[in-house]
């Protein structure tokens, strides 16, 4: 087990594809924070854990689908994105996409939890594709090329979505990020 924990994602993924549960469990432990964070920002806290569970189950049952090309983390995020899309389509709607007034959201004198809700609300006002592009590139630090592969869109489209989403978020949240001011 200790030996397994030292192995790279790709080696663990190959072992998981052969049905080795211990190897897959290490992958879950390594990536659950990022997958759940991505889905929380994407679908909201209420749906995130169920979607993350579905993502990991798909990654387990279809482990052999990971070809070894690119990073395992990127493949996992693509599974998470598809899981989110299928869930949204299954519910017969896109995720809430408020029109918004364009007015900055009030943030003064807020607790961390309230600030989180404001961020979630602001993200909810973006189109899901814009939201996903911003989260992947700005929050999770994926290179543009990898994010484009995860979201299965052309690189130029991805860059446009990141720029549009960021501009909208700055407009909604304002520039000031110091909680003490």
């Amino acid at each position: 087990m200790a030996e397994l924990a030292l192995q790279a994602d790709e080696a663990l993924a190959a072992a998981a594809a052969l049905g080795e549960g211990a190897a897959f469990e290490i992958l879950v432990r390594r990536h659950e924070r990022v997958v759940r964070g991505f889905l929380t920002r994407l679908a909201g806290a209420n749906r995130a854990d169920d979607l993350a569970q579905e993502t990991f189950l798909t990654a387990w049952t279809r482990a052999s689908a990971f070809s070894g090309e690119g990073r395992y983390k990127g493949w996992l995020m693509r599974v998470a994105w598809r899981t989110f899309l299928m869930d949204a389509r299954g519910r017969g709607r896109r995720l809430p996409e408020h029109e918004g007034t364009g007015e900055p959201l009030e943030q003064a004198d807020r607790s961390d939890a309230e600030r989180d809700l404001i961020v979630e609300d602001a993200l909810g006002r973006l189109k899901p594709e814009d939201r996903a592009a911003v989260i992947l590139c700005l929050v999770l630090g994926h290179p543009h090329g990898e994010a484009a592969q995860i979201l299965e869109m052309p690189l130029g489209t991805l860059k446009t979505r990141v720029a549009r989403g960021s501009a909208k978020l700055l407009e909604l949240l304002g520039d000031d990020d110091d909680p003490d001011t």
Binding site: E25, R30, E32, R33, L138, A167, D177
Partner: protein, 116 residues
């Protein structure tokens, strides 16, 4: 004059990225355990689905074998009938001649007794 939006400078993007950042934390063992349980349940469901499929294949195979056997029996029956039909016809003819002869003998015997 229409106000132009502020450009997306690296500083503004970095500030936005800080505000959207996920909280730092260690692995959530409860979630890892939840996935382990879900995985076991999925494996069990998959296993039972596979054995159900295998059973279905066996049942379909058994049904097919029975149908084949019935078909073969039917063919054998037809052959037997084709073999026996002329024989039965022949036997039927013989039986009729025999019956007629027996009736004639019985009639003649009756007349003789009457004369006597």
């Amino acid at each position: 004059m229409i106000p132009t939006p502020d450009p997306l400078t690296p500083e503004r993007l970095a500030s936005l990225s800080r505000r959207l950042a996920l909280p730092e934390r260690g692995p959530d063992e409860a979630f890892v355990a939840r996935i382990r349980l879900a995985r076991s349940a999925a494996d069990l469901a998959r296993e039972s689905e596979r054995s159900r499929r295998e059973q279905l294949v066996v049942e379909i195979g058994g049904g097919g074998a029975l149908l084949f056997a019935a078909h073969q029996l039917g063919q054998v029956g037809e052959q037997a009938a084709a073999l026996l039909a002329p024989l039965a016809t022949g036997l039927g003819g013989l039986a009729l001649i025999g019956l007629a002869a027996a009736m004639m003998v019985a009639t003649l015997a009756g007349e003789r007794e009457g004369l006597a």
